[in-house]
Assembly symmetry: C3
Homo-oligomer: 302 residues x 3
């Protein structure tokens, strides 16, 4: 399957010059669970990709237990998978969902931002930037099937999609809650939220670090649809059918028309954004906040 | 009828950036259908203008059967009529509506964009730009009395108004549905919609080419009022009375404050926008899409 | 109490070089009405400041009867009080409310804009700019407890806050109604409203000079909460507790992220904005409008 060829090379080209993938994981293929219906799989231990070439649709399942945190490895594999699908004309749409019960994604991996070198922080931040740019400007139809809680970076991923379906479970809250950890979401997280729910809702939600339960998320426009938990995937597929009914070229140009100005604000200052992140994350007070938070998490588990 | 004299010449003057009307064309006046109430008419075969000088209000009725498509001639006459009303201090407000049953306007005239010369495309596009700029920044109070379906450019015209009243008929859908024809609305169509319904609703609606039925159009803010079909005109007149209760000068400056930045984005790059349109519309794939679509329309009629 | 030292000097530094405070009022201190609970007061005849150092919260009560108009003196004292609180690490949040029954604030003081010298107009306008900038970018949590009508500049003050609680009294309308007086709100009033209720609601509301009753203000997002009149203060305190639960530094940076671009638009052209105001307010037609309006107000009282 051509899709899988040269994942290692792709990764280098893609994330160069800041990223090496010493242990880039070549995809594996295999029959889908149900078998026999043309669905094929590839991916990695942390990112399962099920493809349905006949429908032109792939499903990317985050699988980084316990909370689908976006480690550098996950980010890298995510970008590689997206690029593979983007470059393969077989595929027109992707459903993003989680393989971890009850958790869509806990967001950025705080262990990547705590107690590491400046070079590591920079590499990590560039990978976060890269994933956002890939998702936000993807030519593919992206639909989020949100089957678990999605704080911070987990919420961001869903916000970059063209359509969001959320499982109707009061525990599955979502929002950019960075302030509650004592940290600040970058301007492009903010832009993505403002473009989705408007300035005022974003202003209040981000300052308070609000996590919205499904009904409220629907009310403010953070998601497009709330459905019973066992219907999330089928609802996402139905929505995909509607989006794929539109001619690709016209839809892609229109998407670009809506989003390019926002993306360009980051593209024009990626290095400055990395520097800003480095300064912020290197502060003693921030490192201390993160250590305290991570210690708490470890105690909970322990 | 003076208005029609030299429409082609006028069009040329009008649709250049330096457009002036050195000898504004005197309309013809006459008793209104009902007579005796001071209503006077002028206009052209394709654009009926009924004026009520006592109230300071004019009604512009699009009359280009069967679907009020915005041909070059209609665009030109529209701009001329607006300019006349704008320059005549008698008039403070205009109601835009349709004389064709069931159709407000089908939007841009695809026959003007298919199988013609580059020069023609450029002339046509400048006329579209000109109408949008005139409407969007008009000093007059503009109220849309939407008495029929209004896709694409038909929707755009209503969106430039200060207030929109839509007849409550489920067939009277409205929206920027260009993608479904395989074409892309220009950035200033997008800006106009975003300024009306916000970024997220616009993003989804434009990519999917959604046409909103009245209840939904009201819910997302695409129109301000939905009324029974036989009350559209009276509701528009009531709204006009409210808008005319505001001192003109303060209202006009405030309108400018709200809209000038958006209009300036086009004004600053009109030529580039024309060039972009020429490149787009001249593509074989686009011309083919349009031919297929126009053939279908002709077969329906035939 | 160190807070009160040198109000006169602070004022000069703060508003220099355009502002003089010929009769700056040094604060007075005293026990709170209830006494004994640690609440302390300072302020001036026109601005009562009650502080609760234990909670880190201050209450600023406008007290410029009969309508809390924002005279040059009130603006100056307001800015001084804000700066004092901002610089005192004891305080993290401020509740803005009114000491005048039934009136939050009638907005800018028209007598400061009518029949005075150009120098006075310029001084006044700079003070209006200064107050807006201080409020809009305040590091403090600002909560408006709107216990009365708040047209024009009164509405603006509440819009700069982080959260708005409005008393549920149909007489307590709010909005930027400048057009009805024949004047035009400046671009930064507009920006503040757009950031709160979106472009379309702002466009219609500002052109028509709409004043929203509580239910409607809540519906369009002009306020966050409507409560019975006797619960406005307690609701503001509850909201404050929620906002103060967020780490200050992260919240302040996030607020800045949301608002700095808007504030910078004024900061970059303060002088031009003053010149624009001078030209506008000096027009005979505007001065006449204001005189007519002020005469009417005086006759009402008389």
């Amino acid at each position: 399957m051509a899709l899988m060829v040269g994942a290692r090379v792709l990764a280098r080209n893609l994330l160069r010059p800041w990223s090496r993938l010493p242990d880039a994981v070549p995809g594996r293929t295999g029959p889908a669970a149900g078998g026999g219906d043309g669905v094929r799989c590839f991916g990695s231990p942390r990112l399962l990709v099920e493809t349905d070439p006949a429908k032109g649709v792939a499903v990317i399942k985050l699988k980084n237990p316990p909370v689908n945190s976006l480690s550098l490895e996950v980010l890298t594999e995510f970008v590689i998978s997206l690029e593979k699908l983007e470059n393969d004309k077989t595929f027109r749409g992707v459903i993003l969902t989680s393989d971890c019960p009850g958790i869509f994604s806990a967001g950025l991996d705080l262990t990547e931002m705590c107690g590491k070198s400046q070079a590591h922080y920079a590499e990590y931040w560039r990978a976060v930037q890269e994933l956002w740019l890939r998702l936000y400007l993807s030519n593919l139809v992206l639909i989020a099937a949100i089957n678990g809680v999605s704080p911070a970076g987990g919420c961001l991923i869903s916000l970059t999609c063209d359509y969001r379906v959320l499982a109707d479970n009061p525990k599955y809250t979502m929002g950019l809650n960075e302030t509650l950890l004592g940290i600040v979401a970058p301007s492009w997280f903010k832009d993505t939220l403002v473009n989705t729910v408007g300035h005022r809702v974003a202003e209040r939600a981000m300052q308070l670090g609000l996590l919205f339960a499904p009904a409220e998320a629907l009310r403010v426009g953070m998601v497009d649809q709330v459905v019973p938990e066992d219907q999330v995937h089928s609802a996402a597929l139905s929505a995909m059918a509607q989006w794929l009914a539109v001619p690709d070229h016209a839809r892609q140009l229109t998407k670009n028309l809506m989003r390019k100005a926002t993306a360009d604000r980051l593209v024009k200052q990626r290095d400055a954004d990395v520097q800003y992140f480095l300064q912020f994350i290197s502060r003693d007070s921030i490192q201390k906040s993160l250590r305290v938070y991570l210690d708490k998490l470890r105690q909970k588990k322990g």
